[in-house]
Symmetry: C2
Subunit: 118 residues, 2 copies
DNA sequence: GGTTGACCTGGAGCGCACTCCAGGTCGGAG
DNA sequence: CTCCGACCTGGAGTGCGCTCCAGGTCAACC
């Protein structure tokens, strides 16, 4: 399995070392493997997972949302219903967010037109 | 000209009284007229302006961006070129933001599909 | 074995955008 | 005139999401 040193994991995920450690500390992923000396070794799986986290974060989820998400994924004793629900809630939120931004885009276009024609 | 009491201005702009005062203090709009006793009277114009601010904020501009924007609008001695440029920069940013969120939406859909089929 | 740069920890600090507060004032209804 | 709820001020506090720091360890290379 491919493994990454912290610097490379950072580069691949686009997160700083600090943020990577921060997310791990919050339990958003990991725990990450270590060398005997204690240095982190990120696996392919870790990196992919963080990719999902970044994506959800881009979708506007806060840290606590992400924690809930992880929690749901971890105790899947009760099936995936909850996870799906959570995802769908956020899908809806994201979509309305996009709608809002699209409105903003139009307003911006209007303003540009307005200020362009002096 | 239509005028609004603080509470009504708050309702119309969707901002709290505190935020309205905060924006005014930062010079994002106003200064707002007062009664002889010192209570604020928001005009139609104020409310519309704040609407634009909210829109730009939705577009992802930070407070300092908004301040720069106001600055440019205020000393228009050198024409509107700068304003247009600023708006266009942010239009571009907003668009890429929307693109990013659209990607996130797709990922979310994938995940929903994945976790739905057990 | 020595050097050097990447990495470790726990905890403090930061920037943003509000939000809340105490203590006081305004002004319309009765 | 009295009451009371809406409003005023300056400044402190909050929550989020990192980011930085000191003081030390690790590990690859010469």
């Amino acid at each position: 399995m491919t493994a990454y040193a912290p610097a490379e994991a950072s580069e691949r995920t686009g997160l700083s070392l600090d943020t990577l450690r921060y997310y791990e500390r919050l339990g958003l992923f990991g725990p990450v493997e270590r060398t005997p000396g204690g240095q982190r070794i990120y696996t392919e799986h870790d990196v992919a997972w963080v990719g999902l986290l970044v994506c959800l974060r881009n979708a506007g989820l806060g840290i606590t949302d992400l924690q809930r998400f992880m929690g749901k994924l971890r105790d899947r004793a009760n099936g995936n219903g909850d996870v799906v629900e959570l995802l769908q809630d956020n899908r809806a939120r994201l979509q309305s967010e996009i709608a809002k931004m699209t409105v903003a885009l139009n307003v911006l276009d209007d303003k540009i037109a307005y200020y362009s024609k002096h």
